[in-house]
């Protein structure tokens, strides 16, 4: 479980997050939703110690993110941030292989190599594995980064808008892969999503942020109400059950 207690954060005097206290359940897919500028990315990067925590505390399975050594956390939690500007020119397989670094620290064994190949397989990158990242498309590069996070094989996986640049089928397959992963291996996945129907279909738990405030946090079914969505995004929606699946109609 990820425990957030009284987390606040400011950047250059502007309040990004104010007094967030919440628990994110273990072994579930949690969707983090909210309008642009709600503080979703900041919250993820605080959980993953990419930014220093100013106020409050965050722990992951009782490991405090501030005091736990970074290399220990790297075996507990992986994060994929939204934009990745990289200087190094790497092949897809080499990038995925770096996901294993927290485990082998430079001396990969056959288990590491197996996991790398499995990640490449899982995200359908076999044909691209020997290409350089600057030779593949934006969506393919995005998949390679997700595969790298997968190869890291941590209990917790945080993904900030991983569906960016992905085509319809790739986006759906990625969401399916992640849901299966959580169901089969008990991994906890926290994912920032903009398409609310992906949250409706694949997430068990939803956390809603708006202007740095926690609006709601709970089981998906309880959160996806026309009221909460109207309060958060300021748009009218209707919610339907079709073949046992929830559909949020927000077009029109």
């Amino acid at each position: 479980m990820i425990r957030l207690s009284s987390v606040s954060h400011q950047i250059d005097g502007a309040k990004i997050l104010s007094n967030i206290s919440a628990n994110i359940p273990k072994g579930q897919v949690t969707a983090l939703i909210g309008p642009n500028g709600a503080g979703k990315s900041t919250l993820l990067s605080l959980i993953a110690r990419l930014q220093g925590l100013e106020q409050g505390s965050i722990s992951i399975d009782d490991l405090d993110v501030v005091t736990t050594p970074s290399d220990e956390l790297a075996r507990k939690l992986a994060i994929l941030t939204q934009s990745n500007s990289i200087t190094a020119r790497l092949r897809v397989r080499e990038l995925v292989a770096f996901g294993r670094f927290p485990h082998h620290k430079g001396r990969p064994n056959h288990k590491d190599l197996e996991r790398i190949e499995e990640a490449i397989e899982q995200f359908d990158l076999g044909d691209l594995a020997d290409k350089f990242l600057d030779e593949v498309s934006g969506g393919q590069r995005q998949k390679a980064f997700v595969a790298m996070a997968y190869a890291q094989d941590t209990d917790y996986l945080l993904l900030d808008e991983p569906l960016n640049n992905l085509d319809m089928a790739s986006a759906r397959n990625l969401m399916r892969n992640l849901t299966e992963l959580a169901a089969q291996t008990g991994k906890t996945i926290v994912i920032v999503l903009h398409e609310i129907n992906y949250a409706a279909l694949y997430a068990n738990w939803i956390m809603v942020l708006k202007q740095g405030q926690l609006i709601a946090n709970g089981p998906a079914k309880e959160i996806l109400t026309p009221q909460i969505i109207a309060d958060t995004f300021g748009i009218e929606v209707t919610i339907h059950e079709i073949d046992g699946k929830t559909l949020v109609m927000h077009y029109g």
């Binding site: 990067s45 993953a48 110690r49 990419l50 970074s70 290399d71 220990e72 956390l73 790297a74 075996r75 992986a78 994060i79 941030t81 990745n84 500007s85 990289i86 200087t87 190094a88 020119r89 790497l90 092949r91 397989r93 080499e94 990038l95 292989a97 770096f98 996901g99 670094f101 927290p102 620290k105 430079g106 990969p108 590491d112 190599l113 790398i116 076999g126 594995a129 020997d130 290409k131 350089f132 600057d134 030779e135 890291q152």
Partner: protein
Amino acid sequence: MTKGWAIALFLLALGTLASLLIGVIDLSQDEIWQDGEALSILIISRLPRTIAILLTGASMAVAGLIMQMIVANKFVEPMTSGSGQSAALGVLIATFLFPASSLFVKMAIACLVSLAGTAGFLALIRKLPAHQPLMVPLVGLAYGGVIGAIVTFIAFHTELMQYLETWFNGEFSGILQGRYELLWLAGLLTMLAYLTADQFAILGLGKNVSINLGLNYKHITRLGLAIVSLITAMTVVTVGIIPFVGLVVPNIVSRWLGDNLRKTLPITAILGATLVLLSDLVGRIVRHPFEIPVGTIFGITGTCIFLWLLYVPARSKPQKTKPSMSGTAS
């Protein structure tokens, strides 16, 4: 891959042999072998010079590569962005304040000033907008230029101008036994860079990925800073500034094999050594028995190669690689 290695090592061996045999004194005459003069030329002059060239080429290429990873920009190298000029400032200060001091003391001061100068460059570029990568080398050139001007100014007022040429225009003709051994330390630092190659490659994936993979970002950056500054200072003190090696060589290797440093760092070192060696040989041959400084020759060839790199986009070759574990297991 193995074929590439074989070619690289063959060229290096050929160049090394040529470097031992080519010089002002012709070693092919039988008489100088009989009185042992040839042997002493080899031991006192040719061998030290050749070793110095190899160490300088390899370590400067690697220093350039490490600097590119820590500043996240492919267009910088220590000799043109302040580290080299700061090292020259260090030797100048040492020469002025402690004229009788040993080479070791001079080098220590050069190392300290170079560290400070490189740290200053890192601090300067941290404030630059991330979306304009070409600002970084431009700021580097200006920063290096300012420090270079300060060096010239001080040298002018302290009547030490005659030394400037030896620091600013690198050459190997003055290398003799007993005057190059500090470069072995640069070689050791290059080995250290190889031992931490994975960490430097991860730095090249950005700060977020580095922290995510459990790296101590600050420590690795500082280690890189130290390796770059010290290699630069040792090179400037013993042979002088040789520009472009640290810029051109890592970029050629990156184009060809990428930046998985565990795999490419040794090749970067070998290519750096080979190119500097060939430049020095050309400098020795063109106006024989006079010499053209290696920095001049490398400056011309380096600029041409660099322009080619800028204008010819990397083209993906048709994939012929076997679906093997290459790149992960190595």
